[in-house]
C-alpha cells in the first residue's frame, strides 16, 4: 500500500464522532486545543500506555523467570534430593540389618552398600541444606535429621561391635537404631518433602497475577493506539499511519509473546509435575514400602517382626503372586490390578518406562518368593535356614529389585528436571523482549504522530 503525504494538512472531517470511549475521553481532555497539541496529547497518552505496558510486561517476565529459576535451581532439586535422602537412608537401614544378620563373619558387600548409602545420605542432606536457601524451618529439620543420622550410625556400629564379639544386647541396639530411622528420620524427611512440594506449587503459581495485569495494560494501550489511529484517520483522511500500525503490531506481539510464554511454561510445569514428579513420588513410595518390608523381614529374623504390617506392605506394592500374563501386560503399560507397582506401570509414559516398571514387577516377585520361603522357614523354627536365605538369595533378590527401582527413579528424576528446565527455557529472552518491543512501539508511536505534527508546521 502506498501512502502519500499532501503538502497541506486537510481539514478535520466534519461531524465525525469518536469511535471509542477512550477516544471520547481524550477528546474531552484535549478540549479546544490546536490540532498539533491534540496530536501531541494523544501521542503522550499512548506513550504512557506503552511505557506502562513495558514496565508491567517486564515485571511479569521477571516474576515468571524468578519463579522458574527458583523451581529449576532450588525447589525441584530439593524435591529430588529429599527423595534421594529417603532412598539412601532406607537402603542403609535394610543393609545394616542384613550385615547384622550375617553375624561375626559379616557380609562385606552389604556392609559396603550400608556405608555407601550412609555417605550418600549425608552428602544429599548437605545438598538439600544448600538448596533450601533461607528457609529456617527446613534448616531446623535438616539439623534434626543429621543429628538422628549420627545417632543411628552410632547405634549400628555399637550393635555391630556387640554382634561381632558375641556381647549381649546387640539385637536390642540394632532395634533401637531401626526405631531411630522410623520415628525420628522418616517423619522429618517427609516434612521436608511436603515443604518442598508446597514451594513448587507456589513457584508454579507465581507470576500469574503479574502476567494478567500486564496483559490488561497492554490491551488498554492497544485500545488507545487503535483509537488514536481512528482519530488520525478522521483528521488526516488517510487510511493508515504506518508507524502507528507498526507500533500496534509490536504491542500485539509483545502481549502474545508474554501470554504464550506463560501458558507454555505452565504446560511444561504441569507435564514435569505429572510426568516427572508424580512418578518420582510414586516410585519413592514403592522404594520406601519395599525397604520397610525388608526391614520387617530382618526384624522377624531378630524376633521382633510385625507380620501383619509386612503382609499389608506387600499388598500395597502388588498382588502377592505376579503371573507371567501380568508381566506381559505390564510391558505394554496395561497391567490391571491394584498396588503401587502396577500404578507405576500404568503411569509410565514411554515404552522405556513401561519396560523398566515391568522389570520392577519381575524382580519384586522374585524377592517376594524368597521372602515367603524365609517366612516359612521361620514358621518351622528353622531360623538358621531362614537367616541363610535372607543373607543369600534374599539380599541378592532385594538388591536386584532396589537397583531396578533406582533406575526408574533416575529416569523420572531426569524427566522432572528436564521438564522444569524446559519451562524455564520458555522464558529465555522474555524480559528483553518485554523491554525492546514496547520501546520500539513507543518510538514508532512518536514517529507516527511527529509526521503528522510536522505537516501542520509546514
Amino acid at each position: 500500500m502506498t501512502v502519500t503525504t499532501p503538502t497541506t494538512p486537510p481539514p478535520p472531517a466534519a461531524g465525525s464522532t469518536p469511535s471509542s470511549a477512550s477516544h471520547a475521553a481524550v477528546e474531552a481532555t484535549v478540549g479546544a486545543a490546536s490540532t498539533p497539541s491534540r496530536l501531541r496529547l494523544w501521542s503522550l497518552m499512548i506513550l504512557v500506555g506503552v511505557i506502562l505496558s513495558a514496565v508491567s510486561g517486564f515485571l511479569a517476565a521477571r516474576a515468571l523467570t524468578a519463579s522458574s529459576d527458583r523451581a529449576e535451581t532450588s525447589t525441584a532439586p530439593v524435591l529430588v534430593a529429599t527423595q534421594d535422602v529417603f532412598a539412601s537412608i532406607a537402603e542403609a537401614d535394610a543393609a545394616s540389618a542384613a550385615v547384622f544378620l550375617s553375624g561375626a563373619d559379616e557380609d562385606r558387600e552389604q556392609r559396603r552398600l550400608y556405608e555407601d548409602a550412609l555417605v550418600r545420605s549425608t552428602a544429599q542432606l548437605e545438598e538439600v541444606s544448600r538448596l533450601v536457601g533461607d528457609d529456617d524451618e527446613a534448616h531446623d529439620a535438616i539439623k534434626s535429621i543429621a543429628a538422628d543420622l549420627t545417632t543411628y550410625a552410632g547405634l549400628v556400629e555399637s550393635a555391630r561391635v556387640a554382634n561381632q564379639n558375641g556381647l549381649p544386647g546387640a539385637s536390642t541396639t540394632l532395634l533401637e537404631a531401626i526405631d531411630t530411622v522410623q520415628r525420628g528420620i522418616v517423619p522429618q524427611v517427609e516434612s521436608l518433602t511436603s515443604r518442598a512440594q508446597l514451594r513448587l506449587d507456589e513457584d508454579v503459581d507465581d507470576g500469574g497475577t503479574e502476567v494478567l495485569i500486564a496483559v490488561v495494560i497492554m490491551a488498554v494501550t492497544l485500545v488507545l493506539l487503535l483509537a488514536g489511529q481512528n482519530q488520525l484517520q478522521r483528521r488526516t483522511r488517510r487510511l493508515l499511519n504506518p508507524p502507528l500500525v507498526l507500533a500496534t503490531l509490536l504491542l500485539v506481539v509483545a502481549g502474545a509473546w508474554l501470554l504464550s510464554s506463560w501458558l507454555r511454561q505452565q504446560d511444561d510445569l504441569d507435564v514435569a509435575r505429572t510426568g516427572g514428579y508424580d512418578s518420582i513420588a510414586l516410585t519413592a513410595d514403592i522404594q520406601t514400602s519395599a525397604f520397610r518390608y525388608k526391614t520387617l523381614e530382618s526384624l522377624a529374623l531378630l524376633g521382633a517382626g510385625d507380620e501383619a504390617e509386612q503382609v499389608a506392605l506387600a499388598t500395597d506394592l502388588s498382588a502377592i503372586d505376579i503371573d507371567a500374563d501380568t508381566v506381559a501386560a505390564a510391558r505394554d503399560g496395561r497391567a490391571a490390578g491394584d498396588g503401587l507397582l502396577l500404578q507405576a506401570n500404568r503411569a509410565a509414559d514411554s515404552t522405556r518406562e513401561q519396560a523398566a516398571t515391568s522389570e520392577l514387577l519381575v524382580r519384586w516377585d522374585r524377592y517376594l518368593r524368597t521372602s515367603q520361603d524365609i517366612g516359612l522357614a521361620l514358621d518351622a523354627d528353622e531360623r538358621d535356614e531362614a537367616v541363610a536365605l535372607a543373607i543369600g538369595a534374599g539380599n541378592s533378590d532385594f538388591n536386584g529389585f532396589n537397583t531396578a527401582v533406582e533406575s526408574v527413579l533416575s529416569d523420572n528424576r531426569s524427566q522432572f528436571l528436564d521438564g522444569i528446565a524446559a519451562a524455564r527455557d520458555r522464558l529465555d529472552w522474555l524480559q528483553l523482549i518485554m523491554i525492546v518491543l514496547p520501546a520500539l512501539a513507543a518510538l514508532t508511536t512518536l514517529w507516527g504522530y511527529q509526521i503528522r505534527i510536522n505537516e501542520y508546521r509546514r
Partner: protein, 380 residues
Amino acid sequence: MTKRLDRRSFLAAAGAFGAATLVGCGGGNSELRTIDLGGDRSLRIWSWPDYIDVGEGDADTLNTVARELGLDVSYQDDYEDNIAAWENIFVPALGDGNGSRLGYDIVVPTYWLAARLVERGWAEQVPLEIVPNHANIDPAFLTQTWDRGARYHMPWQAGITGIAYDPALTGREITSIADLFDGAFRGRVSIIGEMRETVPFGMLLNGDDPSRPTMATARAGLKRFEDARANGQIAALTFDEFDEGLKSGEYWVSMAWSGDVVQLQRERPDLAFVIPDEGAVRWFDTMVIPAGAPNVAAAGAWMNHVYDPVNAARITNYVQYISPVLGVREELQRLGGDAADLARNPILFPDDETRRRLFTWGGLSLEEENELDEAFNALF
C-alpha cells in the same frame, strides 16, 4: 602397558563338543520376532576370541540369532587387549563425539573399561523396551557404582581370579592368599599379569576392600608383590599360560582364572582351585553399545536373545565361565549330561558364602590407574 591375552583360547576345542550336545535346545524368545528393527538388519559385534559358540553349524548361537532375528551378524572376535582398545580405538573414535565412526553396535570390554566408556558418556543406554530379559541380570552385577542398575551395559561372562595349585607338589592344602608368599614355594608361584586382579589380592591380604580402593591401599597391596618378585618368590606373571605351568609342574601355586581351571580339571582333576579365605577377585566382560552405534535396536535384540536363559546356557556350556544370567543353572540341569555337571560346578555357580567373598576392583581415577599400571608392569 599391560596386555592381557584372551582367557578363552584354551576352551575352544572342548567347548565345541559342548555346543554340539545342544542341538535343538535353543528355544528363541518369540517376543523378539515382533521387534521392529527397521531397514537395517546388520549387527556388528566386537568381542574377545572364543567367547561364543561360533561356526559350528546351524545350531551355534550366531546362526541361531541370525535365523531367529533375521539379522546379518558380523562377529569380530579380535578384541584382545583393553588398554590397546582404549588408546587406539575407543578414544580416537568416541572422543570427538562421532561414535558412528567406530562402526560397532556392541563392544565387549572388561568392566573397568566399560566404566570409563559410561562415565565419559560414550555409551548408549540399553534399550530396555527391546530387552525384557534385562530382568534376568544377576543382581550381583547391578550394584556397580559406575552404573547402578546396569542401564548402560549388560555383562557377557564373568570369572573369578582365585588360586589353582597342585596338592601333590605343595604337600598341603592352600587356603589363604598368604600361601602365595610361603617361602616353601619360592620360585614356584605365578601371578596374573593384570594389575586389577593381582593388586586386589595384596589388598585383601592387608585387610583392605578392593571394591573401594584408595591409592594408599592399592600401593600397599602392590608392595606385597613387588617384594615377593624381588626376592624370587614369584616365578612369573602369566595370563592364560599358567595352565601349562601347572600341568608341567613348573608352577605349584598359581593365581588362576576360574574358566580356564574348569577346563584344566577335565584333564587334570587332581589340580585344585580355591577361593582364599580373604576373598578373591570377580571380573566380568560386558556388552556396551558405543555412543552413536549404527543399529541400537539390533544390539538390543541381540542382548535380549543372549539373556534368555536357554540361549545363555548354551553359551555357558561352551565358554564355561560364570554366566551373569539368572536361570542358566536350571537350564544346564535340564540339559543333563556334561551340562548338568557344569550346573553342579561350584566354580561356575559359587554358593552364597563364596559369593560374599568375591570382590570386584572398584576403580580409581584414570591417572591413578595409569600410575599403578606402570608400577605393576615393572614386575614383568
